[in-house]
């Protein structure tokens, strides 16, 4: 059997069976095939032209590349998962039969599936226009404040803040306003429809440094991980001798690998007493490091929160013992299973079930000690080196070469991660994966939503540098990586996803084992120097403050995201197979999913006694038969099943035409210092004076909680602050008096449940 970089072609193997030198050449020719990245602008432009020509019905008649549409017609492109509607790139209006009196308008945003929220809207006319008249006729839905400028015959519409992410827009210029200086006028309105990418707002232009502080010394190898409550843990931490004067009885065994460092202290100074191995060591944000037990080969915090961990420790017999250890209120250690082979990674699939791997197999064990074999890697097919939180996906590193693969554990199917050779990183919710594509030079950083097979290149500040050591935060909103330029100088970069905008750049000493906190507000790493290995941590500028939200189990979040994707499906059809696989018996999600969905997103999630609840917005983009976007609100319930979280209930509202007023896009709760805040994002520029009075927060039993609401026009977000909110589910109400800056009000009062933790 012939392999080259994971490639094997049985047909060529057969063809060149007796001529191995030809097979060798074939393998090497294939390995040298060029990496091709089409220009997305070309791809989009060509698509628009094709779709418009197809829509005009002239495809078969040989008319190409330029087309005319009748008045008030839209030509719509196909709908993609999470993508926007597309209208004709060129709209031509003929007011009479002379060329001089033909007004042609062209928009660069048309046919764009995923417009950057930072984009300006340009409408190019074919002749000088009555600028004031045209500007007066512009209307944008959702309503956003804009300014106008002209470059020759091009109208440039600049949003005062930015476009909202993941939102369908329609720019309309009234027919009565389309007046050329020549006297030509249009026969119909101009309608430019496009959609925006789910891109977060950009970070600072000149990223600041990180200013890390040393937390302590580290042994050799091991890993760092953040606890949900903010402490940093090292699996091979070292402790100052003073901290071990009265040894903790839980330091059951010292790791064999760490080398005691006689010079490093948490303050980075000198010490007479050498540090000693502390095993799994907790470094609180303030206070003294303390040992949490012997060094594990793998560790993961429970989604239930607190000091509740699953650990894989050496069983003294060449295998691993998987235990759970809780120390919130006295120490409770439970042995779940002895694995005859060393466990290299583990994660919580739900609040009572752990998925683990020894590199060759993936197994699960629950707190009742029931075990199951989930997957076995075929011999010689690579090694499982990482599990996504929730355990639905895993990474299989290749035996040689590049093109490691992403394994869908439940389906047993693999998807190549282009150019992946080393480890990959999953976000804390298991929904995003990042890796280094080493098949090109310089290597590049790719990310994708797991299971979507649509990698995106993460732009780096230095495009000629090589990335390495990538890690993601809890929700895949941030990445940290090492960027090494051609002269070998390495920098640690913390950047936003998917834009790649750097939040901070630092030049630590030989940094390894990068780790981001769940909220992306802290980054930790090991700084290696001649003096030893130091654990360093820094606050990420511009990231969210250190807050905790409701602990939605990663497995539930994964199932929810996949369910929503499956509802949108492809080509207007839900993914029936996926919906069935993700739903509990008796739940026929496909039957009640509205047809022709274009996009969907999760507005809010919350914990319920049976599991997790979520509010979903389902959207059908406009099309030729229905020129208004239609929306439905959906409530989804999930509960832990035998193989992970499944959807137990789906209740969508009927589709209705999207109203002209503002809409709620997302509600994100967080709690810090006893204060709960709800960040409520809107798609429109609001009238600030209507915000506070329209928003109220209730307990689940209906009691109104004292709250304040402050509107930030730059982010279109209202921050609702509730002091001493009870833990659990809250109800956010927004009255229909809330209005955008044009005076359009919420079509009807809005209400959603959100989870809060105190």
């Amino acid at each position: 059997m012939s392999w080259m970089g994971g490639w094997f072609d049985p047909e060529l193997e057969d063809l060149f069976h007796d001529e191995p030198e030809l097979l060798e050449t074939a393998q090497r020719v294939r390995a040298a095939r060029p990496a091709v990245e089409p220009d997305p602008r070309f791809q989009n432009r060509l698509r628009a032209q094709l779709v418009a020509e197809a829509a005009s019905g002239r495809g078969a008649r040989g008319v190409r590349r330029w087309w005319r549409l009748g008045p008030a017609h839209f030509a719509w492109g196909g709908t993609l998962v999470g993508a926007a509607l597309i209208t004709a790139t060129v709209l031509t209006f003929v007011s009479n039969h002379t060329v001089d009196r033909t007004v042609t308008a062209f928009s660069q945003l048309s046919a764009q599936h995923s417009v950057s929220p930072n984009q300006v809207i340009t409408v190019a006319f074919n002749q000088p226009m009555n600028e004031q008249a045209v500007e007066a006729g512009v209307h944008i839905q959702p309503a956003i404040k804009v300014s106008f400028s002209w470059k020759n015959n091009d109208l440039v519409i600049s949003p005062a803040y930015h476009l909202s992410a993941n939102t369908p827009y329609i720019v309309t210029i009234a027919q009565t306003a389309i007046k050329a200086l020549s006297g030509a006028s249009a026969a119909a309105d101009i309608n430019i429809a496009f959609g925006t990418a789910p891109t977060p707002p950009p970070g600072p232009v000149a990223p600041p440094s990180l200013n890390p502080i040393a937390l302590g010394s580290n042994g050799t190898g091991g890993s760092l991980l953040y606890a949900p409550y903010g402490s940093l843990f090292s699996t091979v931490g070292l402790l100052p001798q003073s901290a071990t004067a009265s040894p903790s009885p839980t330091v059951a065994g010292a790791p064999s690998t760490p080398s005691a460092n006689p010079t490093s202290t948490p303050e980075g100074g000198s010490s007479q007493a050498p540090d000693v191995p502390g095993g799994l060591v907790e470094y609180p944000s303030s206070g003294t490091p303390s040992s949490f037990g012997s060094s594990p080969s793998a560790a993961a915090f429970s989604p239930n929160g607190g000091r509740y961990l699953a650990l894989a420790i050496d069983d003294g017999n060449s295998g691993s013992r998987i235990i759970t250890e809780r120390s919130d209120d006295g120490r409770q250690r439970v042995t779940l299973i002895d694995s005859p082979t060393p466990v290299t990674a583990l994660t919580w699939a739900s609040s009572d079930r752990i998925v683990y791997t020894d590199g060759t197999t993936i197994n699960s064990v629950d707190v009742s000690k029931a075990v199951a074999l989930l997957y076995t890697v075929p011999a010689g097919s690579g090694t499982i080196t990482a599990l996504a939180a929730g355990g639905s996906y895993a990474y299989i590193a290749p035996s040689s070469g590049t093109d490691g693969s992403l394994l869908d554990v439940l389906r047993g199917t693999e998807q190549v991660l282009k150019g992946a050779a080393g480890d990959v990183s999953f976000s804390g919710d298991g929904a995003t994966v990042a890796w280094i594509d080493e098949s090109v030079h310089p290597a590049r950083l790719l990310t994708e939503t797991v299971g979507q097979n649509a990698p995106a290149v993460l732009p780096m500040p230095d495009s000629t540098a090589s990335p390495s050591d990538v890690v993601l935060d809890g929700k895949g909103n941030e990445a940290a990586y090492i960027s090494t330029d051609s002269s070998g100088i390495a920098e640690l970069v913390v950047a936003q996803l998917p834009s790649g905008t750097p939040l901070a750049i630092e030049s630590p000493s030989n940094a390894t084992q990068l780790t981001l906190s769940a909220g992306g507000d802290q980054v930790a790493f090991i700084s290696n120097s001649a003096g030893g290995a130091a654990i360093e941590q820094a606050t990420v500028p511009g990231a969210n403050p250190n807050v905790s939200g409701p602990q939605i189990p990663p497995g539930a979040n994964q199932t929810l995201q996949r369910f929503v994707q499956a509802q949108v499906g492809h080509g207007g059809q839900p993914d029936f197979v996926a919906l069935e696989a993700l739903s509990a018996a008796g739940v026929n999600a496909a039957a009640i999913t509205p047809p022709d969905l274009s996009r969907a997103y999760v507005i809010s999630t919350y914990l319920v006694p049976q599991g997790v609840g979520a509010s979903i917005e389902l959207i059908v983009d406009p099309n030729a038969g229905h020129t208004t976007a239609r929306v439905a609100l959906e409530t989804v319930m999930l509960a832990a099943g035998d193989t992970g979280y499944v959807v137990t209930s789906v209740v969508p509202s009927p589709l209705r035409d999207e109203s002209a007023g503002p809409h709620v896009v997302q509600v994100s709760p967080s709690t810090s210092g006893g204060v709960t805040t709800l960040k409520v994002s809107f798609d429109s520029d609001l009238n600030p004076s209507t915000v506070a009075a329209a928003i109220s927060v209730l307990t689940e039993s209906g009691s109104t909680l004292p709250s304040t609401a402050v509107y930030n026009p730059d982010t279109r977000t209202a921050t609702v602050t509730i002091a001493n909110a009870p833990s659990g589910t809250l109800i956010l109400n927004i009255a229909s008096t809330l209005a955008d800056f044009e005076g359009q009000t919420l079509a009807s009062s809005f209400s959603t449940k959100v989870g809060a933790s105190s």
């Binding site: 072609d9 047909e11 060529l12 063809l15 060149f16 030198e21 030809l22 060798e24 050449t25 074939a26 090497r28 020719v29 294939r30 390995a31 040298a32 095939r33 060029p34 091709v36 089409p38 220009d39 070309f42 791809q43 060509l46 698509r47 032209q49 094709l50 779709v51 418009a52 020509e53 197809a54 829509a55 495809g59 078969a60 008649r61 040989g62 190409r64 590349r65 030509a75 719509w76 492109g77 196909g78 709908t79 993609l80 597309i86 030079h441 097979n453 492809h570 080509g571 207007g572 099309n623």
Partner: protein
């Protein structure tokens, strides 16, 4: 990723009348076709021109398309092969065998030279220098990982004929890269 055959057939039927469906076909096959065209031309501007030509030809002809038991992509590749040949007929390729061989480092083991990514362009330049049918077969097999039967459908050849084209193409590449000479010398 291949579309399920039944779904693809249904989509193609819809694409004869429905712009959205054609757009969906485009979304699915654009990457493959562009990659194939680029592999053959190795020039972005030319690849964009030819890719445009392929999809406009497909749009104009899709009304006459009848499923033949092969994937829709086979039909698109067929159009691509013709469009690329048209392009070559109107414009001479810029790479030459001489330039491919001239820069090879004779002091290194010959097969190792091919591995070096810096030589990737020369390897594919050697493929460009093959006769058109061999070139197409080699590109579809080693650039696109297609099955011999699919390549046969695209080129209008039997599977056996495709094997012959690839066999001859491989020998041609080795000759053009000087590998055969070196192997003979080592023996």
């Amino acid at each position: 990723m291949t579309l399920p055959r039944a779904y693809e057939d249904q989509l193609v039927e819809r694409a004869k009348q429905d712009a959205d469906a054609f757009g969906e076909l485009y979304d699915h096959y654009f990457g493959q076709i562009y990659r194939f065209v680029f592999s053959r031309l190795r020039d972005q501007e030319a690849a964009e021109d030819v890719t445009s030509e392929v999809f406009f030809k497909a749009l104009r002809a899709i009304g006459r398309y009848k499923p033949s038991g092969h994937p829709f992509s086979a039909w698109l590749y067929q159009i691509s092969v013709n469009a690329i040949n048209d392009h070559y007929r109107s414009r001479k390729p810029t790479s030459s065998l001489d330039s491919a061989i001239a820069v090879a480092d004779p002091s290194r083991p010959v097969d190792d030279r091919v591995v070096d990514s810096a030589e990737a362009a020369r390897v594919w330049a050697a493929i460009d220098d093959l006769p058109p049918q061999q070139r197409a077969a080699m590109t579809l097999k080693l650039g696109e990982d297609l099955k011999l039967a699919q390549i046969g459908e695209i080129l209008g050849k039997s599977e056996g004929a495709v094997k012959l084209l690839i066999h001859r193409g491989m020998i041609g590449v080795r000759l053009r890269l000087g590998i055969v000479v070196a192997v003979e010398e080592q023996r």
